[in-house]
Symmetry: D2
Subunit: 143 residues, 4 copies
């Protein structure tokens, strides 16, 4: 992922403010661990509340994580006061999610004035190797 | 949506069993209100836990609802013992979600032995008119 | 598909002008047969040039048809002088395309000032019944 | 893109045979320049026949190129006699395509017995720098 530059010198505070207002993310326990211009990382401790019917990470939880990474990575690139909305998102499920902890990373791969194109992935570690649970792409509108 | 036929005479019980095992859906309070072969409806009472940063319905919650409708509509068409997995899903966000209650409906628009192609939408009612919050399409694998 | 209103009273002429400039569509022989505000229909006579490796309608040809329906349906809703660009598009392939003639229809399902959300499908007729080859959804930007 | 292994020792010949039968690709002049297990590259000389209404590379041509890279990269991983079909594909348009020549590359990012998940992109060179025209993701079924 190419290094991007933030237009807002206080991009980190602004992104953190938006994150702090996001209730659904807090309720499900997903935590952002790194904020760089256009790039974010996060973690989720896997609990029973995140299960789908087979005890794996729920696709809706996975979608939520990708949306948070992509959306807030976009927030880190906009000006103070601007807002970001998801226009559309696609997610592909590569492997079942079974782990104590899940990691996520990603961000803006093509910034623009009106849109940001984003990508992100959710993965876990198995004997040191990364297993990708899902990968997503999204279009974020800047308003 | 065309009327479809269930291969499993106990499709309703089987689908309900799968739904009962889905923890993330229960945790967020989404409830299935109708199960027909390849078609489902559901409802969500809007609470603070579903908010994104502007107080609207979170995209991750919306994605979860669509995934539940599409996934369990697919379960209603498979044989006893078969499983359904989301291969990929796309969601487009038409309008911000602000309402006391959200409704969802959708299901399988092209059934198959190996895949079901699905569509679903989330909407609310405003003075009797339906306002679509989001529409999604997904590919479900039957295993 | 809901009836939409054109902002440009000469929407038909403007859309036809744009269509007349589209070389790739002409080259492959796809013809628009109906233009209404936000809704289009078209036809393709199936020739050897449209084949993929099994002699079926090529996915790229199918994608092109959907893009034309969705893009020009969006053109029919904009003001004189405005342009439309595809932001992103998804296509799902339901059935192999084998027929003498293919039909397409679709358009804008959620119009907006900045975006139009569109859907379209390609189908053929077999003993009077419609067989859907592919269905697509797209986001069109209005500039 | 991770290095993958071909199950078919004659993967190159088998992929080339499939490519040789693909009429639409030949008609539009897209040429595959490299075949490795699960990874392909190709080129298109830009001609008037590829234009959309503004003289840029047509989205349908771009979609076709991505589908060829993703589809034949999947063919390079299957066994002799197996077939590959596009289940669904998404494409995001990053920049207008204006160049004498376009390049494409991509392939399978998550292989499987029943599906291959693929990604590919179309780009051109401007003073030595790569400008991405579009990026796509697709699900390919192996039959």
């Amino acid at each position: 992922m190419k290094k991007l530059e933030a237009r807002n010198p206080k991009y980190k505070e602004y992104t953190e403010l938006m994150i702090s207002r996001n209730k659904f993310m807090q309720w499900m326990g997903f935590v952002i661990t790194k904020i760089e211009p256009g790039y974010l990382e996060g973690e989720l401790e896997f609990k029973e509340m995140h299960h789908q019917q087979n005890g794996w990470l729920h696709g809706g939880a996975t979608s939520t994580i990708l949306d948070m990474i992509e959306g807030f990575a976009s927030y880190s690139l906009v000006e103070e006061g601007q807002k970001v909305f998801t226009v559309e998102a696609k997610i592909s499920y590569f492997n079942p999610g079974t782990a104590d902890k899940f990691y996520a990373r990603g961000g803006v791969i093509k910034p623009g004035k009106r849109f940001h194109f984003c990508e992100a992935e959710v993965y876990y570690l198995k004997e040191g190797e990364e297993i990708t649970v899902a990968k997503g792409s999204a279009t974020m509108a800047v308003v």
